[in-house]
């Protein structure tokens, strides 16, 4: 393959951004949509060629576009690293991305700002491609911040919704907290290796002390937690559902949120050197997987259920990384991209059909009215619930098996309970939307219609992938994907756990049992005895309320961080106007006393006139004058006090003793 081909992958969507962004108002929105889709399609074709080359030759290569930052020993290129891991990510980003773009053409039809939507989507694709293709940390970081920015713009796409605006800001700021951690990691890497290129860093990694490796790994982890919505920074993702549904599918399910997983796998060499950091990754993932699943149980907004499900599934990927099963993590990332994009897009199709309604309590019985959507949604549900032989079964089973084999029984237990809950809430969702009595608003009822082919065709393709995607990893541990990624995602120095055939089959059996029982419970509660669920909720209102309110985490964060931050600005105002002002005024008053004294002297001694009343007046005027703050004096006083403190501090430091 030529270098040009690799460079073209991000260049196509970039050209589309420039074209639609600068000239978009000159032509029809339909053409803008075609340009947007076409560019991603071309990138996908290039990626396929790259994959072909990669499979046949298997060589990792670097492509340097140009030298980006340079100065002394700091030399960073805008370069791309093409290895199996990148290739897999490329296919996910461009492949699933292309399908979602095509779907958007139908879904966003007639929306205001159609051209702008595609511009942002393409800009997102460019950033995401930079993120996965970069050959050094800085390019990764550019993509990392770029996807955050596009996420911000796309969540806030519906201007007129205040909630959308708030969600967008929340997402950006929470992400930025993670980014600050990531940036710190980059600086630490630079200080230790004098380079930011992966190849150089990873080849010299054994010179690093364990402590430094742990520090870097933890900083990276903070970044990954922010981007991949793990505890405690997951709060932005459910709110991010305010954006249009294709955005949720592309950014908040299939690609951007998995960037954290990609980053951990990309840096697995560093994590392997830091067992403490690694196991923290595992536990954060495990706890998140279980925690988010419990919240997902009772949500009533179709997209929010899927959002919590995404958080939970990302938890599985982190868990996999934590037990050193990097290939399983990437495998789950791929299958998750298929079935979660499918679920989101078909949820979009459902919402489209019922006229924008997102509350599942106002749906029901839709299966006959929108049969194709129903079919693909069911495929998605079966896949995520882990019913064999669909995609989710293979990848999730592999993660659980790794946790078990590595002796992390606690993590295994959490994953297993999480899987049970996943199967339950997904079938609950399916039952409430598609089966039982229709609870749809009668006014909307007769409008219900199947979505146009522009939307259903991508759904069918994704459904097909969700069915067969799992066979990339069959047989377990020795599938195609395992061989393909073995070179880049095998933990360093890990002993090979030989898994007996019996154990493997046993674990699979348990996994199937879990999935089926989740389904069974859901069937019992929402289909066989429809009143049972409400009875349960009524019987345990505390637990139900806690889950419904997402454990009150948002409220807690508001109380702990957001309010104080807002208050800090106000407090500073207060401090400024009261404390600092008063201090300055007190200084002024002391000096003023002196000046009053001299005035007194002037009046009484120099002029010799005992004008007591005049002095009284002066005193009154003086005290009244104090009520208005003479600002310029305060400013000058601030300079003098600051100067005095600086000199004083410097002298203490130079001489070791205070001059006061």
């Amino acid at each position: 393959m030529s270098d040009l081909l690799v460079i073209l992958i991000p260049v196509f969507p970039l050209l589309a951004v420039l074209l639609n962004g600068l000239l978009g108002h000159r032509y029809s929105p339909a053409l803008a949509g075609q340009i947007g889709c076409g560019s991603v399609g071309l990138s996908f074709l290039c990626s396929l060629v790259v994959l072909g080359e990669m499979v046949s030759t298997g060589t990792t290569r670097e492509v340097i576009a140009y030298t980006w930052i340079f100065g002394g020993d700091l030399n960073v290129n805008l370069g791309f690293l093409i290895d199996p891991l990148t290739t897999v990510m490329l296919l996910v980003v461009t492949g699933v991305g292309f399908l979602i773009h095509v779907y958007s053409v139908g879904y966003m039809h007639g929306e205001e700002g159609y051209t702008r939507f595609f511009t942002y989507m393409n800009l997102f694709t460019v950033s995401m491609l930079l993120l996965v293709m970069g050959n050094n940390y800085l390019v990764l970081f550019i993509g990392w911040e770029g996807v955050g920015l596009c996420s911000y713009l796309l969540i806030g796409y519906y201007f007129d919704r205040i909630s959308a605006a708030k969600a967008a800001t929340k997402a950006f700021v929470v992400n930025r907290i993670g980014d600050a951690g990531f940036l710190l990691a980059i600086f630490l890497v630079f200080v230790n290796f004098k380079s930011l290129d992966y190849t150089i860093v990873f080849s010299q990694v054994d010179q690093l002390s364990t402590e430094m490796a742990t520090a870097i790994a933890f900083c990276l982890l903070i970044g990954a937690i922010g981007k991949s919505a793990q505890i405690p920074l997951y709060i932005w993702l459910p709110d991010a559902m305010e954006g249009p549904t294709p955005v949720s599918a592309l950014i908040h399910a299939a690609t951007m949120v998995t960037a954290g997983v990609y980053m951990v796998v990309r840096n697995h060499v560093l994590f392997d050197m830091a067992p403490v950091a690694l196991i923290t990754v595992g536990w954060i993932g495990g706890v998140t997987a279980l925690f988010a699943a419990t919240i997902g149980l009772v949500q009533n907004d179709i997209k929010r259920v899927l959002a919590y499900s995404t958080v939970s599934q990302l938890g599985y990927m982190f868990l996999a990384c934590g037990v050193g099963a990097y290939i399983a993590a990437i495998f789950h990332l791929v299958t998750h991209a298929f079935f979660k994009a499918l679920l989101f897009l078909s949820a979009g199709s459902v919402i489209h059909a019922v006229g924008g309604e997102q509350d599942i309590r106002k749906m029901g019985g839709l299966w006959s009215k929108i049969p194709r959507t129903h079919g693909v949604f069911l495929v998605g549900t079966l896949a995520i619930a882990g019913i064999p032989p669909l995609a989710g079964f293979w990848s999730k089973d592999e993660i659980m098996a790794h946790a078990f084999v590595n002796g992390e029984y606690g993590l295994y237990l959490m994953a297993a309970i999480g899987a049970l809950l996943t199967a339950f809430y997904m079938f609950r969702l399916t039952y409430l939307i598609f089966y039982g009595q229709s609870r749809v608003d009668p006014k909307v009822e007769h409008h219900i219609h199947e979505s146009p082919p522009m939307m259903t065709v991508p759904l069918i393709v994704l459904a097909f992938l969700a069915i067969v995607g799992g066979f990339l990893g069959v047989p377990p541990e020795h599938g195609w994907i395992h061989g393909f990624l073995a070179g880049v995602a095998t933990p360093a120095g890990a002993e090979v756990h030989e898994v007996s055939f019996g154990l493997l089959v046993g674990l699979m059996g348990i996994a199937i049992l879990i999935a089926v029982s989740g389904w069974g419970v859901a069937h019992y509660l929402y289909s066989a005895r429809p009143r049972a669920a409400e009875d349960w909720a009524a019987r345990a209102p505390g637990a139900y309320g806690t889950l419904l309110n997402k454990y009150y985490v948002d409220e807690l964060y508001d109380w702990m961080f957001v309010e104080p931050c807002k208050r800090l600005g106000r407090i500073w105002d207060w401090v400024d106007s009261n404390i600092i002002d008063r201090m300055v005024r007190a200084v002024g008053r002391m000096v003023d006393l002196g000046s009053a004294g001299s005035t007194w002297f002037e009046k009484h001694v120099i002029y010799g006139a005992a004008n007591v009343i005049g002095f009284g007046n002066h005193l009154v005027a003086w005290s009244w004058r104090k009520l208005q703050s003479g600002m310029v004096h305060h400013y000058a006083a601030m300079i003098v006090v600051g100067l005095f403190l600086l000199v004083h501090f410097l002298l203490i430091w130079l001489t070791g003793k205070s001059v006061l």
Binding site: D573, D576, S577, V587, G588, V591, D592, G594, S595, R625, Q628, S629, G630, M631, V632, H633, A636, A637, V640
Partner: protein
């Protein structure tokens, strides 16, 4: 008997401090300007003393420039004060606190 350098430094330090305190406590803009002139003149005392003490004329050169700058400062400052007084009939700094926080 020559006067030791420290005497000059104490004198200039005192004059400088009087100037600073004047800026801090006086409200009449013209008096504030005069206080700043005191600060600059304290500087001049320092320069002349050091120049003579070190046998180096550079300090005295500085004094000329400082005088020129001070004159220019007064010119600009008085112009601002006149403009202010014409439109707001006040040269008390306390009357100017529209901009704050």
């Amino acid at each position: 008997m020559t006067v030791p350098i420290t005497h000059y430094m104490i004198l200039s330090g005192l004059v400088f401090l009087i100037g600073v305190v004047g800026v801090l406590i006086r409200r009449n803009i013209i008096i504030i300007l005069l206080s700043i002139e005191l600060m600059l003149n304290a500087t001049n005392i320092n320069f002349v003393a050091f120049s003579s003490y070190l046998g180096n004329v550079a300090g005295q050169v500085f004094v000329f420039f400082a005088l020129t700058v001070a004159a220019a400062e007064v010119a600009v400052g008085l112009a601002i004060i006149i403009a202010l007084y014409r439109h707001h009939s006040s040269i008390n700094v306390d009357d100017f606190q529209l901009l704050k926080w």
